[in-house]
């Protein structure tokens, strides 16, 4: 059961990583990196590391994604 779930999550994180690298739209790429972090945090939880999962969920998928979006917005403002 755990192995199946871990395999599904691993595949999901690989799909997210593919979109993060190959997506033409930068917003899609940023959201895909957030999804990779989210999946990683669920994996950490399954592997009995709830404290690492907490850090990954809040820093990896919330704060980093937001900071990427702020930076992207800034770059677009500068290019206009």
């Amino acid at each position: 059961m755990l192995t199946v779930l871990a395999a599904i999550l691993g595949i999901a994180s690989m799909v997210g990583a593919y979109f993060a690298v190959h997506s033409k739209k930068l917003t899609v790429a940023i959201i895909a990196t957030g999804i990779v972090s989210m999946v990683a945090s669920i994996l950490f939880l399954l592997l009995a590391a709830p404290d690492v999962a907490m850090t990954e969920a809040s820093i990896g998928s919330a704060l980093t994604t937001a900071i990427f979006f702020f930076t992207l917005n800034k770059i677009r403002q500068t290019n206009e």
């Binding site: 709830p50 404290d51 907490m54 809040s58 820093i59 704060l63 937001a66 900071i67 702020f70 800034k74």
Partner: protein
């Protein structure tokens, strides 16, 4: 040979190199010597129910101080590079309109997220998580505030005061432990109430005190970084 075949070959070569590692891996049956020591003596030495906390704050307390320093340096460098003068500011920047759903749910959720963050670091010695995790959760609450209200501004004076005071208290606890008690720098024995009953909220000596200040420091630091990024959007 084009670029794509080269990349494919490189990945295949890495797979060949790394496969023996996977082949020869076998999970260890027993804990390592250090891990065994922590598991046997951790509760007795530190009084903390959460062994991870006793390692992070007491046995490897100096490393935690180093981590806090690195985070402080990163935040300082960000505020140094993204600082800007007041004249170059755009007043009342046009933002996309914010939906009713986001503002209403933020009003309900933000206090709960803050309370959860405080819960994590206050209970750091009992349940998983601690200062860093609680601080990160608090910062994600601040992020929700920024997203739901474009005019929300952090009070930098209070933020800087809380941040520097908690950092100072953390170091002072360590120094007092080294000077007054026998345990050395960041010793766990300075809180007046001793170790207490293992598993109760007032236990584990200095760990809850250190984690409370650590949580405040990390929370304000990450919130401040977010605030700097949001303010830099108003710059010309």
């Amino acid at each position: 040979m084009n670029r794509k075949t080269l990349i494919a070959l490189l990945i295949a070569a890495m797979a060949v190199v790394l496969f023996p590692l996977y082949e020869s891996y076998q999970g260890s049956e027993a804990l390592s010597e250090v891990g065994q020591y922590y598991a046997d003596n951790g509760v007795e030495d530190t009084g903390a129910q959460n062994l991870v906390t006793s390692v992070v704050v007491t046995y490897r307390g100096l490393d935690t101080l180093g981590e806090v320093t690195i985070l402080f340096l990163a935040a300082s460098i960000i505020s140094f590079f993204l600082s800007f003068s007041k004249e170059e500011r755009i007043e009342n920047r046009q933002v996309r309109s914010i939906t009713e759903i986001l503002t209403t749910s933020a009003q309900i959720l933000v206090p709960m997220i803050y309370m959860f963050g405080v819960y994590i670091f206050v209970n750091g010695h009992l349940t998983p998580g601690g200062g860093f995790q609680g601080g990160a959760v608090i910062a994600s609450g601040t992020l929700l505030m920024f997203l739901s209200n474009p005019n929300f501004k952090l009070n930098h004076k209070i933020i800087h005061f809380v941040e520097s005071t908690s950092g100072l208290v953390f170091v002072l606890i360590g120094v007092v432990g080294a000077m007054m008690m026998d345990g050395g720098f960041l010793s766990n024995k300075i809180a007046g109430y001793g170790f207490g009953q293992v598993g109760s909220i007032l236990s584990a000596g200095a760990i809850p005190v250190i984690y409370t200040f650590l949580g405040l420091k990390v929370g304000t630091e990450l919130s401040n970084v977010l605030g700097i990024y949001v303010e830099s959007q108003n710059e010309k």
